[in-house]
Each structure stands twice: as C-alpha cells, then as structure tokens.
Symmetry: C2
Subunit: 463 residues, 2 copies
C-alpha cells in the first residue's frame, strides 16, 4: 500500500486534493451503466489540462500503477473495468476550443460531451456526424478510443474518418501532437488511426480535431414494414439511387425488437401492427426536400411486394418519435440478466444467412432462449442479444462461441463498433488472425513496454 499512498499524495499535490477521488467518491466510476462490469479503482483523477494528464501518467509510472482513461463511461464491453488502477477522468477537459467553419473543423478536448459538440457546430449550419443513443453523456475521448459507430455510418463512414487530428499522452508521459487540421496528410505512418479504437491501451487521448460536414436542411423519415431482409437491402439500394446517397440511417428492427419495445415502452405508440421485419429510414438533404422521393420509393416498393406498410413522418415530432423507437434499444436490451450481447458485422450479402443459422443453432443448444435483434443494416452491423435459459458460465460462453463461429465463417467480425474491452477478449483469442494478434502485441510492447495503459484489454495475452 506504500506505493499507492505515496502516489496519491503526489497526485493530490499535482492536481489539488479535490481532483483526486478515493474511497466512496469513486463509486460512480466503479460500475458501468449496464451493471454488468464492476471494478474498484484505487483513485479517480480529474486533471484539468493535457499537462496534468501527462503528470498523472508520469506519477503512475514512477509507482508502477496502471492507468485507465474514462470518458462518459457509456461503453458496453467492460473497457474501463480494472481493479485497483488509477482512473483518469477527462470530465474537466470538456472544452470546445474552436470551431472554424471555413476550414470545416472543430477542435475539442477529450472530455467534450458529444451532444455539446453537436449543439455548438449546429450554430454554424454544420454537423459532426457521429451520433448514437448515449450522445448526452458519451465524451469524445471515449468515443474515439472505441471508434464508436452509431446510426449514420451508412452515410458518413466510420468515426475514424471523421477525425482529422489527435493529441495523445503516451505511456511515458510524453505528449504526441497529431493535431492535424488537414484533409490529406501523408507525412509518415498513420498514428492517428492506431490510437482511435485502441481503448486507452496505447495512450490517453486528450484532444481532437473533428471534421465537420454541412448540416442537412431537409429531413424525411419513415418506418416501414418489409417482407424480408433481401427486400430491405433492395429498398436501401433504391433509396441511395433516388437520393444520391442521402440515406442517413437505415435501421433494422425486426419483430423481436418491436415486441420488446411494446412491452417496455408501451408509451412509444407503434404506427402499425408488428411485422417480422421493420426498417427505420432517415434521409437528409442539403438542396431539396426528400419527402416526396421517400413516398415514391416506398410506393414502388409496396407495388413490388417488398414493403407491407409504412408511415412517413409528417413533421419533426413524428420524426423524433420514430428515432426514439430506435434509440431506446440500449434501455430495452439491458432489462434482463443473464445476457449474451453481441455486436457483430457481416458482409452485406451475409446478414440473412447469419440470422438464419444463428436461430437454428441456438434452438439446438437452448430451446428456451430468447433473442433480440436491432441492426445498422446499411453497415451489416447487427446487435444481437441472447437471453439464455440459465446463467451457467460455460453455457453463456458456449452461446457466444456458437455465434462467433458463424460470424467468422461468413467473413464477419466479432466486434463491429463496441470494441473488445473485457467482454470480447476470448473471442479475439479464438478468432482473430494469429499473426494480427502478434503484430498487435508487438505494437503494444513497443509503445507501452511496462503494460500500464489499460492493461488486459483489447489484445489477449499470448498463449
């Protein structure tokens, strides 16, 4: 305990006592919001600047303590759970330093809350496209550290493509300045993308330059009941074609999801009876309203037998209502335990096969298990939750392994957008290319030789 006590004293001197939380003051950081992941940090630090983050890292290094950065703690994979580590909360570094409309960028601190960034750039008719249900509490540093996805990747691409620059405090306390403001920059290895998605295992992201895009002036949203998954993909292609790629969200909500929604959120009135397959559509136009186009494409799809029923939002309140049906997913999902929650990606032409095979095999190993699916269909990204009939550890593990095996067989990934954290480590061991794992270990060893940055996450130990 001597090392830790000494470290805490030094940290109090460096940050001020009120920014070094210990004991019961750390409770809100000791569990994630799902309740699934728990661990007690030895202290939670609240630095107010990059220099203070660097000082925290150097003090931790001198005392041999592990470092875990934490943003809004809205992750789903146990990425911040690390018993006895020093947590660095970025919550005091929440400034939006600069918005430069002519250059199309915003410079923000890692603790900036996503919805605050949205609001600030909206004042300039601009948009930072990354969005997800937790935007009111998720912070930029955590979002980038997990390369968080969300609902409009189908239009704006993955988060790493929305980041121009980064600032990172490394394991030795040095500050890596990658705060590029450029659309093109080929000056050496792409270090930026190495830290994006590294879940804090290679360093602590302290600031970022975000790429902004013009905010659509016109929106058109609908909920549509479709006859099948292939019919959904036909509808997506037709919408892309008819709107020049203006599809901002194309979210798959099948019967299991709509039923769970009806049960848990009866206040969220559903516009038509529950069908096997439903899609939430949102279009965004800069130059023209897209409501008529949406109506026309849906009418064609009804004619073609692909769409059974549809409700096109007639005003912003109806559009918000449709979005709320989708964004209640996390709330609706984490209502029961035990769960096996999967976040998988498939090639677009493999989604239906995956779902069919998964249901067949699950029935064989746990006939009483329930499932719930909601998907960013345009990205081939499926959030599948299984509620098994019992919580025996190897039963849960067996279900995950069965799902992973189907995913990998179809060329998919065991983590699409939530990351690895602790929950997918076994999946990484079993299914990630062994050479890739070795290269990741070599990089981790080169940048964090003492293994003190969020140790035990992302890259499983060599066997």
């Amino acid at each position: 305990m001597g090392a830790m006590t000494d470290a805490i004293s030094e940290l109090r001197a460096a940050l001020g006592a009120s920014n070094v939380l210990t004991g019961t003051d750390t409770e809100r950081f000791s569990r994630d919001w799902t309740g699934k992941w728990r661990a007690s940090p030895c202290a939670v630090l609240r630095p107010g600047s990059t220099a203070e983050v660097a000082e925290c890292v150097r003090i931790a290094a001198r005392h041999g303590l592990a470092i875990v950065p934490v943003g809004g703690n809205t992750g789903l994979v146990g990425g911040t759970a690390n018993e006895g580590a020093l947590m660095i909360s970025l919550e005091r570094m929440a400034a939006i330093r600069e918005i430069r409309p002519e250059a199309g960028l915003a410079i923000v601190e890692a603790g900036a809350i996503l919805s605050d960034v949205h609001d600030a750039v909206a004042a300039h008719d601009l948009m930072f496209p990354l969005t997800l249900g937790a935007r009111g509490s998720a912070r930029i540093g955590g979002l980038l550290s997990t390369n968080a996805g969300g609902s409009n990747v189908v239009r704006y691409g993955p988060t790493r493509g929305l980041v121009l620059g980064l600032e990172v405090v490394l394991a030795d306390g040095r500050v890596l300045d990658l705060m590029s403001e450029l659309r093109k920059d080929n000056s050496g290895y792409d270090l930026r993308d190495l830290f994006i998605g590294a879940e804090g295992t290679l360093g602590v992201i302290t600031a970022a330059v975000l790429r902004l895009t013009p905010a659509p002036r016109y929106h058109a949203a609908a909920l549509a009941a479709v006859t099948s998954l292939p019919a959904s993909l036909r509808l997506l292609r037709r919408l892309q074609q008819a709107t020049d790629g203006a599809v901002e969200a194309f979210e798959y909500m099948p019967r299991t999801y709509m039923q769970a929604l009806a049960t848990h959120r009866p206040d969220l009135r559903q516009p038509f009876e529950i069908h096997d397959h439903a899609i939430m559509i949102d279009l965004g136009g800069l130059s023209r309203p897209l409501g008529d186009t949406l109506e026309e494409v849906l009418a064609e799809a009804v004619e073609a037998g692909d769409v059974l029923d549809a409700m096109v939002a007639q005003n912003e309140a109806q559009r918000a209502h449709i979005w709320e049906m989708r964004e209640t997913a996390a709330e609706v999902t984490f209502t029961r335990l035990p769960i096996v929650d999967c976040d998988v990606a498939l090639p677009l032409d493999g989604v239906e096969t995956f779902i069919d095979r998964m249901h067949q095999r699950l029935a064989a190993i746990d006939a009483a298990a329930d499932t719930l699916i909601v998907a960013h269909l345009g990205d081939g990204n499926i959030h599948l939750t299984v509620y098994p009939s019992n919580d025996a550890a190897d039963h849960l593990d067996g279900i995950r392994e069965m799902i992973d095996a189907i995913v990998v067989d179809l060329g998919g990934s065991v983590s699409a957008e939530h990351g690895i954290g602790l929950s997918k480590l076994a999946s990484m061991s079993r299914h990630k290319d062994a050479v890739a794992l070795d290269v990741m270990r070599a990089i981790k060893g080169a940048l964090d030789p003492e293994n003190r940055m969020n140790p035990g996450k992302v890259v499983p130990a060599a066997k």
Copy 2:
C-alpha cells in the same frame, strides 16, 4: 558477393529463372519515370502468389538483403530507389479475384492496375473512386502503400477510407490476413491503416478488399475563371450546397499552370483567355442530371462577381477535354530541371496565405525562379513546383525549407498525398513532431527489427 549469389540461386529455384531479373533486365526498375530517382537493384523478383512473395522475403532475410516492393513505379518521391536491394515487382499478381456487387466490394491482387479495376467494376454500375493521372500504369499495392490521393478525394475521402481489407507479407515472411469485407470492424488495433501509406517499410501488400460505390449516371463539368481563391472556395461551398455534395473534382489551375499548358500542349485548346485563377469542376449525380444546377450556380457566381468566364461541357468529349487539361499536370510539370516539387496540404482557410507568402519569400531568395501550381483545392492540397535559377544543392534545399516552414507555420503538412520516400525525409526530420517520429521508429523497430523492408524511407533516422 557470395551472399547475393547464393540468394539469387535460391530465388531462381523458388520462382523460376525467368522471374528473377538481373543485370540489364532490371533497367526499367532502376529509374522512376520523372528521371529524378535512380538506383540499381541487385535483382528484380516477379513472384506469382502471396506464398512466393513470402518465400522471397524469407530468402532475403536469410541472406541479409533489403526488400523493396514495386508496383507501377509511378511514385514521385523516390520511394522505390534503393541501391543493391531486392525489388519485388507485383506485376504478375494483377488479378481481380472477385467483384461482389451486393456487398459493394472487389477483391484484388496488389499488382492489379487501377484502370483495370475501374473497368471491371464499371460493368456492374459501380465505381472504385480513387483516380489519378497515372491510373493506366499505377498498381493497387503501390497506390495503397503511398495512400495515394487524386482528384476526387473531395467527394469520396482519402484512399485509406476506400479499403476494407489487406493482406500483407511481413518482414519475417509471415502473412498477415486482414482481408476484412466489412464496413465496421472494431476487433483490435487498426493495423490496416498502419500498412496503408507505409511505403513498403513495414511489409509487402499482396492483396486488398476495395470498397465500391454506385457509379454516378450523370456528369456535369465546367472550366471557370474565378476572381480569387476566396471566390473559389465560395463557389465550392455553393456547389456542395446546391448538389448535396456531388462535387467529384474541384481543381485549381492558376495562370502559371494554364500558361505552361499553352506552351507544352498547344493542341489542348483553352476555351477562354488565361486569367489569374481557373477551376475545373466535375459533378456526379446518381438520380438527376446536374448540368442545369451547374449553369445556375455559375450564373449566380458571375452575378456576384466571383466568376469571370466559364465553359460548361456540352457533351462527354468536352468533359474529357477539360479533364485532360488537368491530368496533363505531371507531363507539364516535369519538363525542366532543376525542380523543387512540393505536395503540401493546408487547412482550407490557409491556402491563400500560403501562396502569397511563398511568392514573397521566393522572390527574396531567387528572383528569377519560376513557379507552377495546380491544386486539389477542395482538399487544401497544393502541388507547387519551383524551377530555381540554379541547381546548387543547398539552394534547392533552401527553397524547400522555406516552403516547408511556411506550410508548417500555417498548420499544414509537407506531404499531402505523394508520401515521403527519399525526397521528403529532410522535411520530416525538420518538421514532424519529434514524439511522432519516435513512435514511428518504435513501430518500425517492432515490425522490422532488422530494418530490411524498404530501409531508409519514410521515417528519418534518429539524430
């Protein structure tokens, strides 16, 4: 010479004698097309498969020889010049293995020629967006190894965003399988983007999964004389707004470029007299022709005093003519020696200041120097060529250093899309963040501890 002779024998046994070129047979690989970079390889290997590439790398390792991968050799920075190394040409690995329209992807070997990929996917009404003047000889492996940019990054983003998966032979001869077909994949560190842009210093790219997009059905192109750079940027924003972001190219061609074009390619008739600033515009629409919109926006800009003259292409031949005026840039640029050729990126709001300052300072150190500028303006990417009045090495270096200093002062990059190779190593040493260089060295050391993969490129040695 013993090691090399032994290595050549082993390589002949592995690949067949006709695939191990030595002596005068290597001549076409010993210089780049600009004539600026020359080096004689000890042999040029032409493996026919990934397994053969791996075997080449293992044989090279046993004999302590350096490896330099080469594609179409259309690079501009000396990236393949390495005296006495074994070159691995990917020209026999040129297959387009698979095109999957429903999944929106193509799987290709690293030696596939860019224009062959374009043609193959066009048959499915799809497009691989990366394009540049050298597309008829540039090969995918080289394009990805330099993260090559080109003319339509303004719409489709940088090359790294167009790549879903990669296969790479590592320095120890192991094959790294990152051949993901997924839009989202958060399974560990982003190794893909580490190899993209690494110029062969971390491994040899042997295959890739390319992301395809729907091919525009309608094009509208114009050449416009504008009053200033800020007027050009206003025109770009207005076009983006009016077309929902359908601007595929927005290329800046000022007086210096148009005059060089008139001198060297008098056959390429210019539609109006040469003004200080001209812009080549190309729009691409999926759902609607954009010619009327282009005419309207240009008419508004004439009204507003931003545009002086414009020619809107009335047919595909006129559009091709406008494109040829732009794509003749490399031919027009490399007509004189000595040159200092720069490929810099600036934040969009810093382009004009850069050009003004550069001209002022150049006049002070070499009043007789000429310049030529052509730019991917929508990306803030300027190709600046200086023709100094004398070829003294420190005069050339002084000019580059003067330009680099202005770029860095304005938050820019000394390499936007051509890469580092040999030509920008000194710029990297002087201007890249020292911590970033250290991290790059650590990664290089971890993945290529014997420094045999294209040694001496990209990352300058520590001082």
